[in-house]
Symmetry: C3
Amino acid sequence: MLLALARRRGRGPPGALWMERPRHQGMAKNTYMRWRLPLVCLLWEVAMVVLFGVFVRFGPEADAHWEEEKQKENVTSDIENDFYYRYPSFQDVHVMIFVGFGFLMVFLKRYGFGAVGFNFLLAAFGIQWALLMQGWFHSFENGKILIEVENLINADFCVGSVCIAFGAILGKTSPIQLLVMTLFQVTLFAVNEYILLNLLHVKDAGGSMTIHTFGAYFGLTVTCILYRPNLEQSKDKQGSMYHSDLFAMIGTLYLWMYWPSFNSAISEHGDTQHRAAINTYCSLAACVLTTVAFSSMLQKKGKLDMVHIQNATLAGGVAVGTSAEMMLTPYGALIVGFTCGIVSTVGYVYLTPFLESRLHIQDTCGIHNLHGMPGLIGGIVGAITAAAATEDVYGKEGFIKAFDFTGPYQTRTPSVQGGFQAAGIMVSLLMAFAGGALVGAILKLPIWGDASDENCFEDDIYWEVPEDEESDVYHMHNPDKPASP
Amino acid sequence: MLLALARRRGRGPPGALWMERPRHQGMAKNTYMRWRLPLVCLLWEVAMVVLFGVFVRFGPEADAHWEEEKQKENVTSDIENDFYYRYPSFQDVHVMIFVGFGFLMVFLKRYGFGAVGFNFLLAAFGIQWALLMQGWFHSFENGKILIEVENLINADFCVGSVCIAFGAILGKTSPIQLLVMTLFQVTLFAVNEYILLNLLHVKDAGGSMTIHTFGAYFGLTVTCILYRPNLEQSKDKQGSMYHSDLFAMIGTLYLWMYWPSFNSAISEHGDTQHRAAINTYCSLAACVLTTVAFSSMLQKKGKLDMVHIQNATLAGGVAVGTSAEMMLTPYGALIVGFTCGIVSTVGYVYLTPFLESRLHIQDTCGIHNLHGMPGLIGGIVGAITAAAATEDVYGKEGFIKAFDFTGPYQTRTPSVQGGFQAAGIMVSLLMAFAGGALVGAILKLPIWGDASDENCFEDDIYWEVPEDEESDVYHMHNPDKPASP
Amino acid sequence: MLLALARRRGRGPPGALWMERPRHQGMAKNTYMRWRLPLVCLLWEVAMVVLFGVFVRFGPEADAHWEEEKQKENVTSDIENDFYYRYPSFQDVHVMIFVGFGFLMVFLKRYGFGAVGFNFLLAAFGIQWALLMQGWFHSFENGKILIEVENLINADFCVGSVCIAFGAILGKTSPIQLLVMTLFQVTLFAVNEYILLNLLHVKDAGGSMTIHTFGAYFGLTVTCILYRPNLEQSKDKQGSMYHSDLFAMIGTLYLWMYWPSFNSAISEHGDTQHRAAINTYCSLAACVLTTVAFSSMLQKKGKLDMVHIQNATLAGGVAVGTSAEMMLTPYGALIVGFTCGIVSTVGYVYLTPFLESRLHIQDTCGIHNLHGMPGLIGGIVGAITAAAATEDVYGKEGFIKAFDFTGPYQTRTPSVQGGFQAAGIMVSLLMAFAGGALVGAILKLPIWGDASDENCFEDDIYWEVPEDEESDVYHMHNPDKPASP
């Protein structure tokens, strides 16, 4: 290890410490992170410590006083603690955020460290900030935010929307930009979520609106503002390689398998959670078949494209995010998955090129196809399913429980609920466009250390990259880059 | 992404859209999937939607009417919903099917996309068809199939047997053939399972008979009928490479770690599930040591072979599939694992070559060693353990609960039960041979688009493969294939 | 498969069956494993079967007699079985041991098989021996060890300390040495654990002392005694390559995500487990940001180093191993994680080279930075947190429950408990140094088949390695090694 470290450190041209080498016509940019990145990380983490110290305490079921609390609330056994009925779902969601999103984005041939590493960084910061933001809105009692396992799930959900937006700008931003975006996006997410869940009293268990629609259109707005006209200079690095596609499949499969946990994680206990998992399972299964069908059909040679298999197969999970906990029924879920596999695959083939060439939206991972359109469909399906709800289908008590038609909402009818659901889509879109525009403008400031157009999609800018065999071969194909410095 | 897609699409010789280039003496085959594969996927998925619409509804614990149901059945709390006591097991099994089997088969150097991608496709279709088939046999009430989380586990189990059979024909079949095989195998699986569990009243919690024995001998019969006499033409692609072996270890480890969940997933709640997990854990641990011992011992140079470590270490889980929920005891489990590590490793070294050269059984993954023989052993161990059961060992009530000696079966003795268990092995074998012969004959029809002998084990036939460094090197070794079109 | 096997077997120079080729000035060593490794594996596994046969039985909740047991203990439902409240945690811990540690060590460019394969072997043996050793100390009743799911977790914990020690000697030992070390280390672990938990009545839920401090300093002592003065002869293999670093990130992320399960797995049910998970989650999140900050800050070019991201991000989990179940509070956990990310990263940059050059401690994975120092910090934080406990913070009953101040310990005060906690650190260190010295001396015997200095960090010594493209390129860089034998 010593030797390896020493060897690593000795690398690099001595005079080029903080400037990219100017290549082609591109202007050199200052991508030196040594003081900026540590400063941001340390200051923000100190702020987290202070804010947690002032505000965050254990919720009643995680506090040692629960022994007394239990007696007051007639809880007879420790195994009734909510930990046992949320924690397995939490861990599945946790895997989706860190391994699922992280590895899904490893598909780029020379950006694996950035994909999985920056995702790790922004998610680790994001969950702390989300605990605070969501805590102030939803778990604030007597001046304290009381956290339990459900808060951890919600923080992961919030960060999920940042991971989605990251997909649009993957390979084109510095880690500082990502942290700045995370700070703002988590804040806006919490506001949007509060409007939808508390003010509009909308149901959105799996976050078709709050997570996917918001995250995707936020990210697309940001990437549009950060438009790079000369991005084709790094086109040789925009593709995948054989093994990077296999790594990406790890991400895909974990997202696909655990999505039923995602959509059911914060639903009401009992039949609601049970149903949410089954609906999501069905939708995802159908989605795989139509994705394969259209991936083959839209290729002249009829071959399958890994990009579609890695992404469009997941659209079914996105699109039942709102309706999974409702009585969508298994065949309703199949229809949604069926449709979204098609929409998403067609999007990859036709819409992504169109968005890039006409609207200047450079969407690295195609989040518009995986989260944008399926998220909108999910919101609409949720509005329709809610509007179509009857006491006959849900049972008298189940009906009230499913839509929480209690207190001030006990007079709400299904069709009114459907209208509010539709309003939730609009609010999420507006927040995404406005927030994305604001954050995009901030990220455009020339102080964050992003790479020049010809150095995008390359780990070498921000990471110590081992000089391995593959990169040697790689250098053979890039004769303007010296093989060993 | 746009550019990457555009670049990909532009590849390939213009005149060779649907025919493999004739190479060597091999006859060119039509592997063009553009219309056939989409047609099969779309038609079958439409069929699923229709059948689900007619037949499938939520089971009582997943239906919104559960609020009323609870009161009738004196359920006092939502946390008594079966979701909480099956779902974590379900997710572990789900990971085994999609990541476990998928990545285990990635070991081939140029067939990673096919291994993990086709496994994904057939399993996603298979679980839908299995929900229907198993539903008609086991969960059919008033004209509806009522599904809950236990049905999802059983569907994954059923698909597990298809994944096993896929291992035998890996690299030699088209995706359409795999879908056809899945359709038939799931059907036959459900029939066989019904005969064993309902007619013979056999115990088979982890499926030594229904999943492993049936799946393995079904797959071996199919591959025997699809015998390719000139398969040595693609021998350069039949091996692994360094990183593909590491990917395969991901599959191995997830199968190994989660196997206790697999064998206990549908056992009775309480001590039965608890015991099934412990027995499986013990058997698997012992299996690793004897696999390593024999892998080293049977190599002239005493080196370990990754093929054995990836596969034979799992035989212990297969071989306690029937008896895990019985009072096999931890040391009994160790003995079973001990034995199967040896049997499986010896099988890889001596039996697989023999089966190929003498019986024309080309078994790509060696499923005979991992699922065939250990599955048979598992059936036999189950029969013996059942026959040896006494009220002393199980307790009076535990005895009845363990073998479900109730209703029409309350007069059954352990030795009679042992006899029925043995009959279950025979029935599974017969179903496997007969079904495999039928399906093999169907798959032999020249309409499914399988590759010629010299193009087996190669993703390039059915997948858009990135032209990366590795494949450049690869092409250097295959001078008859142009490096860049 | 046949052909692949046949091809593999035909490799290798015919006259070099059991001797490494002498290269450079190094002396050839006998690394032939063919009889020694099988003998050790088989004999030890037979011993396990015998000892399990004599001693191990199912615990009451896994035994078929539970049906009667339930009635005696007024258990009304099968879902009260402890299986449902420990098993999900067990599976998370299981993944950490086999995938987490296994893949974390795959970072070496040519030692992936050894890292994940030997870890698999030693852990599979270790858990069996740990079930016995820990069983004799903690679950021994009427001459029998009664095992339930909690025993499986504890066995995994015990093996975790061996995996840690393995990290120090990674690449430099034969599989037999690893098995010998496992045998002794598990034994010593169980003794140390007994002293701490039973004699000193110390709390150590996540094992900062018993697992991390003991495991790390044990491993460091062993590697110090096995010092290889000419290890720079294999320095070309001590680094990582691009894809091996990505594989290692799989290990990192699974350790990071599941660490809350690890630290809470054997805590008391209810608020204690709940709290342990939240504290760990917070500590780990903070740790990521300070690791990134210092990784960038300590590099002249300001680039991030994968070694730090892979390892130092986990230090926060180690360092709350003792205090996680106490009322550390979320901000306390953030502070611990904040500190340990810094300490660990600084350790990788400055301390590891120092230990190697001055103290002759060649620590391949840098376990001193990931487990040694954070383990000590964890012990100290635990002692302080215990000493600072008040009835006000814990509640009257929670206070007694948290520290188990019952029976002979009911008069213990927090400050006394803090003193005992501190004593636990000392005992663990002493056991580690003494045990490591003993085991190091045994492993230094020239009979175990370890490789010579220039052949360290190379799979080729103990594994059949496929001759793939990468290794062809690799051989180009190693002209003294023939490309194809």
